[in-house]
């Protein structure tokens, strides 16, 4: 039985000023699939996640998430670019965690976790708080419930950010180099949490990372990016071990050497 893919990019073009970042990118990600995006800096990995999150608009092409079009909508029979309201409705099924955490400094950890469920999903404060407590237990920060985010370590902040994204019960989770801003000794804890989430949920995950070891056991599929296109696509145990494309080989060698 054919199941509709969770994420579909069709001929997506994106440029910033004179820089063409994506020129006709096609990509499909199946429901529940864990896809890891690797590739050199500037190859367009963040751009793809930002387009999916609706933080940037495509110049051409379409994006579907969960069968619904994120980039366009129908108005009086015609297909037109999505307006803010349409985009917001589709975005509700997508969550994102950023490299720099982006927690709200004016709220406590708990406040960060219940804000969107209460305001956006219309959850009662009691229910959202109960759910937040579960998530804080999952990420191991129950004792920080009433702390300000600025008083937490980077690793703790990132775990709160992950919990905050999960609080919205996303069907798709986008992770953009979530361990890159962390001190080395804090990376393992965050990766362990991501593995746990990957194993215990059916969320579709797109994850940009330079942690090759993590990509190997977390991903179902690895995409190697260069210059805005996918130059290699395959299962981690093959692509990361015996890359077929020279560019992938060079990249992996450079990353492994840098550690």
């Amino acid at each position: 039985m054919p199941v509709e893919p969770m994420v579909v990019l069709d001929g997506v073009h994106k440029r910033y000023g004179d820089t063409a970042v994506l020129s006709g990118l096609d990509l499909r990600v199946e429901r529940g699939e864990h896809v890891t995006l690797i590739g050199p800096s500037g190859s367009g990995k963040t751009t793809i996640l930002r387009l999916l999150m609706g933080l940037e608009a495509v110049d051409a092409g379409t994006i579907h998430v969960g069968g619904r079009c994120l980039t366009h909508m129908r108005r009086r029979g015609a297909v037109v670019p999505a307006d803010e309201k349409h985009a917001r409705a589709v975005r509700r099924t997508i969550g994102m965690v950023f490299q720099q955490f982006n927690l709200f400094p004016n709220m406590t950890v708990l406040g960060n976790l219940i804000e969107a469920p209460v305001r956006v999903l219309g959850m009662s404060e009691a229910e959202a708080t109960r759910r937040a407590a579960e998530l804080l237990e999952l990420v191991g920060l129950t004792d920080k419930t009433h702390e300000r985010p600025t008083r937490l370590s980077g690793g703790q902040q990132q775990r709160v950010a992950i919990a905050r994204a999960l609080a919205m019960r996303p069907e798709v989770l986008l992770l953009d180099e979530v361990t890159s801003a962390l001190d080395p000794e804090l990376v393992a804890g965050v990766l362990r949490l991501l593995r746990l989430i990957g194993e215990s949920s059916d969320i579709t995950i797109l994850c940009v990372t330079h942690e090759i070891g993590f990509a190997r056991d977390f991903a179902d599929r690895v995409l190697m990016f260069d210059g805005g296109s996918i130059v290699e696509d395959g299962p981690p145990e093959r692509l990361l071990v015996e890359p077929r494309v020279p560019r992938t080989k060079e990249f992996l060698a450079a990353v492994l050497e840098g550690r």
Partner: protein, 235 residues
Amino acid sequence: MLDNLPLILSSLAAGVPPTVFAAVGGIALTIALSAVAGLALLSRHRAVRAVSRVYVEFFRGTSEVVQLFWIFFVLPALVGYQIVPLAAGIVVLGLNHGAYGAEIVRGAVRSVPRAQYDACTALSLSPWDRMRRVVLPQAVVEMLPSFTNLFIQLLKSTALLSLVVVDEIVRRGQLLVPNLGVGEKLTIYLVELLLYLGLAVLVTSGMRLLERRAAARVGRPPTAARSGFATGVAM
């Protein structure tokens, strides 16, 4: 010379309530106008931005004294209704400082990092919730120190109200001056300086308290601590 000291003191002290009243009224109006005009400067709608821009440029670009004369002398002739001097003063102080305050609000809102907007989008918060729950609470921390300066300037500008016969500190002094000698004039002006200084210190301390509280709410050491007076808040 010291014989007249009690008279000088009691006379100038009687000017303090009108001065305080004008300052407090002016500050209240400044806050309201700064918020409205400042947010209007950031509106998506061009017309809204334009109206606010005209307001800001007009009141920043014209003399407070002339504005005061307009409201007090010209406007009544046009509309046939004499506005109470103190009210006219409060209106001019508020309109003027609101124009400066609008720029402070605009700058502070724009200083909230783009990443905070991204986080709001990723959580599907509406633009209204984003402004009210995330952006403004952070912007307020940024704007408070500038508002402290603005309020002190406003306090000192209340002296202009002596021109439209509000019996505030300066006018009380002017009423005494003709009958007194040089030494006593010196005393009058010295007391006036000290009165304004005292009031300014009150404004500053009140604002410092607010600044500290607001900074704590976003988990940041207050401005003073950032420039060296440590408070032990870990970043």
